[in-house]
């Protein structure tokens, strides 16, 4: 059974407030920034989160309301009846039911829209879905407006109910209105109930506490009861009736002897008889009030009431089933002897020795500490003496740990000698098989010669490369045939290559290599016309450019003048030729330094 604390029920907000709170929370607690260009899954996730967050919030708050409010079946029947009287059981249950339905509807809405959101393909669609979802949830809640208002009122009233413990010792005051019940409770307890001359001053139950015989007693003050049948009773009277019906208390029926309440003794007696069935199983005291002389009598009546209640309670407890249960469980079992053998309790020897030692106060064995104290400065902690080895003399050996970069501990093996033997045998076999013979077969002379030659070739190659790199090339690279080869050099090179150059004094080396591009075919001597010197000289020598096509010296002079003219500018600027566009000074200081005075950017 859940424990309800009527004072700690959460405030039930109005529908409008509820919606506002939740929506503003959604806005604050979820991320707010989303752009069209985000990846679609990110957009979806963003909006789904909002929907789920809102749903979660609603769900949480509604669940809390549902759990906070007491279930009429779970609480004490006194309270259940009281709440029924005050708030109408049906209405109450209906309101809570509506809240529950609303909660489920909200969950369903959220689920549906989250499912739909998975198919949203643009920011706009997802946003509309989210709007729709939130809108629907809020509409659902708007419809619960009346339930929420009702529950809020119930909560407020519930928290103000007096905390009557239905299980402790209670004294219940009942009787006609204005007979003096509230005055009595004011006198007896620290309660401060309104006492007024008009009837129905007390409109609900009030509780006071008092001490008697070192025990706490509750005194419950009820509103007055009038004499009419049950169906016609109003809410206020019903409270009193409920209290009477459910609280196991001593009932003090207060009667006004002086008839100051406005009702005769006869009427009061009639009332007493009519509600008598409610007094079954309860100790009853009829209190004659307002006898101004008889204060002491009142007190004595009170005592009696308490005593009688106590006695009643104790009796009930004893007769209750609980005691029997406890008694049944207590049973001392003794095993029955099956033969005559004595079986005394077993005490181990060590325990006996220790006990004896304790009594005799024998000296203890020698400790390490004693040794330390004895030796003083010479003491060295030697843990190796406790080692458990096969030979006692080896205890103080200095154990080698490392050899040449290897850990000895990695090699330790009881069968190491056997393994080593196997290895040695293997090694022997291998050696015999010739694995370890050095195979430096002496190569035959040919091969050696070849190697020598190869080495020379490689060296020569490198030399050629270096020479070619070292050449100073002035000007364009001309083909090899233009360079004149000196005789000495040729002879030297050929000599190095192994040819015999000793008797070459008479030989003619000079042969001009062909410089024409086309390969001239060798014609048969008979077929061709005998070569004349003119044609030869003509073909061999062409007129230079500045003389070809010029008729007379006058023209030549003019041509030369034109040439010189065109070269004037270039020469003045120190250019190498037409194509020389090199700028020696890209940023001349005299043009770029200084302030901008009146001038243009063309030449500043």
């Amino acid at each position: 059974m859940a424990l309800y604390n009527f004072k700690k029920i959460m405030v039930v907000p109005t529908a409008k407030d509820f919606i506002d709170i939740t929506l503003s929370k959604t806005q604050r607690k979820t991320p707010t920034v989303v752009h069209k260009h985000y990846q679609i899954h990110r957009i979806r996730h963003f909006y789904m989160r909002k929907v789920k967050f809102t749903q979660q919030n609603y769900h949480d708050r509604l669940s809390q309301i549902l759990t906070d409010f007491p279930k009429l079946d779970d609480i004490h029947p006194f309270y259940a009846d009281l709440m029924n009287v005050l708030y109408d059981k049906d209405h109450y249950k209906l309101a809570l039911g509506q809240i529950n339905i609303a909660k489920n509807l909200i969950d369903n809405v959220a689920k549906d829209y989250v499912r739909l959101m998975k198919y949203g393909d643009s920011l706009y669609r997802c946003k509309q879905l989210k709007r729709a979802a939130l809108g629907r949830m809020c509409t659902i809640l708007k419809r619960q407006k009346s339930s929420l208002e009702y529950l809020e009122q119930v909560r407020q009233h519930l928290s103000r109910l007096p905390s009557i413990d239905p299980n402790t010792r209670t004294l219940l005051l009942c009787g006609y209105p204005n007979v003096g019940k509230s005055s009595f409770i004011n006198k007896v307890t620290r309660a401060d109930v309104d006492v007024q001359p008009y009837a129905f001053t007390t409109k609900s139950l009030f509780v006071g506490h008092m001490d008697y015989r070192y025990l706490r007693w509750q005194v419950v003050d009820t509103p007055g009861i009038l004499d009419h049948p049950l169906e016609e009773r109003n809410t206020i009277e019903m409270q009193a009736i409920t209290a009477l019906a459910h609280l196991r208390a001593a009932v003090l029926y207060v009667m006004d002897v002086s008839e100051q309440c406005g009702h005769t003794l006869q009427e009061q007696l009639e009332l007493f008889n009519s509600i008598r069935p409610l007094f079954a199983n309860k100790p009853l005291i009829v209190v004659a009030n307002k006898c101004d002389v008889k204060k002491i009598t009142e007190l004595s009546e009170e005592n009696q009431a308490c005593d009688r209640l106590l006695a009643d309670r104790v009796e009930n407890k004893m007769k209750g089933k609980k005691v029997h249960d406890v008694l049944n469980r207590l049973h001392l079992a003794m095993p029955a002897k099956r033969d005559d053998k004595e079986r005394p309790p077993f005490i181990p020897e060590g325990a006996l020795i220790r006990k004896r030692a304790m009594e005799v106060d024998a000296p203890k064995r020698r400790l390490e500490r004693d040794l330390e104290v004895e030796l003083g400065d010479d003491y060295i902690l030697d843990l190796q003496k406790y080692w458990d080895l096969m030979n006692e003399e080896e205890k103080h050996d200095r154990v080698p740990e490392v050899w040449e970069g290897h850990n000895i501990a990695d090699y330790i093996d009881p069968d190491i000698m056997k393994k080593l033997e196997d290895l040695e045998k293997e090694e022997e076999l291998k050696e015999r098989a010739g694995e370890y013979d050095s195979d430096d077969e002496s190569e035959d002379e040919d091969m050696q010669e070849i190697r020598v030659l190869a080495k020379q070739i490689r060296e020569k190659k490198q030399l050629l490369i270096v020479q070619s790199k070292d050449k100073d090339v002035h000007g364009p690279r001309m083909p090899r045939t233009t360079t004149k080869v000196e005789r000495k050099k040729l002879e030297k090179e050929m000599g190095e290559l192994g040819l015999d150059m000793n008797d070459k004094d008479d030989s003619h080396y000079a042969q001009q290599a062909r410089r024409s591009r086309s390969i001239t075919k060798k014609r048969k001597r008979e077929a061709s016309a005998p070569p004349t010197s003119k044609t030869r000289s003509q073909s061999a020598s062409r007129p230079p450019r500045d003389q070809s096509g010029i008729r007379d010296p006058k023209m030549a002079k003019k041509a030369k003048k034109m040439m010189k003219n065109s070269q004037k500018d270039m020469n003045r600027q120190g250019k190498k030729g037409e194509a020389d566009r090199h700028v020696f000074d890209l940023k001349p200081k005299h043009l770029l330094a200084g302030k901008r005075k009146s001038g243009t950017n063309d030449y500043r």
């Binding site: 740990e401 090699y411 293997e426």
Partner: protein
């Protein structure tokens, strides 16, 4: 005291050197120097980093399966100290080490034999192709001719004498 193995390069980590890294799953990694640490942090695979022993073993450049290598391994069952066992072990260690070195060297030598063969062939082709850089092709003939002439002269001389 123990000489550990570096996780990355498999080199020895002497006491007082290197560093140890402990991962969240409680696996420890020892390193011999910061070179190995930095490579490890860069998530390089030692089996692919050419200068490590792991690479050499994984790519078959060094002896991996051999009886002499089985002697050194971490044992999980400790053996109680026994003086003559320890002495014998130290002696055995020395001998095993010798054999191991021999075998490893032999393995590498075998691997490099192919290179010698290739070298030979290369020299032969080099000579065949580029002999003209050192010796003129003509020179041999000249020499021959000279030889022939000399012989002829000798023969003539001989005839004359006779």
């Amino acid at each position: 005291m123990r000489i550990e193995k570096c996780y990355f390069c498999s080199g020895p980590v002497y006491p007082g050197h290197g560093a140890m890294f402990v991962r969240n799953d409680c696996k420890t990694f020892r390193f011999c120097r910061s070179k190995c640490i930095r490579n490890f942090k860069k998530k390089r695979n030692p089996r692919k980093t050419r200068w490590t022993k792991a690479f050499r073993k994984a790519s078959g450049k060094e002896l991996t399966v051999d009886n002499s290598l089985e002697f050194e391994k971490r044992r999980s069952i400790p053996v109680k100290y026994n003086r003559d066992l320890w002495e014998k072990t130290v002696e055995a260690m020395k001998r095993v080490e010798e054999i191991k070195q021999k075998r490893q060297a032999r393995f590498i030598m075998n691997r490099l034999k192919k290179g010698k063969q290739l070298e030979k062939e290369e020299a032969i082709t080099e000579v065949k192709k580029n002999i003209h850089l050192i010796k003129a092709p003509h020179a041999a003939k000249q020499m021959e001719a000279k030889m022939v002439q000399k012989l002829q002269e000798d023969v003539d001389m001989g005839d004359e004498d006779n």
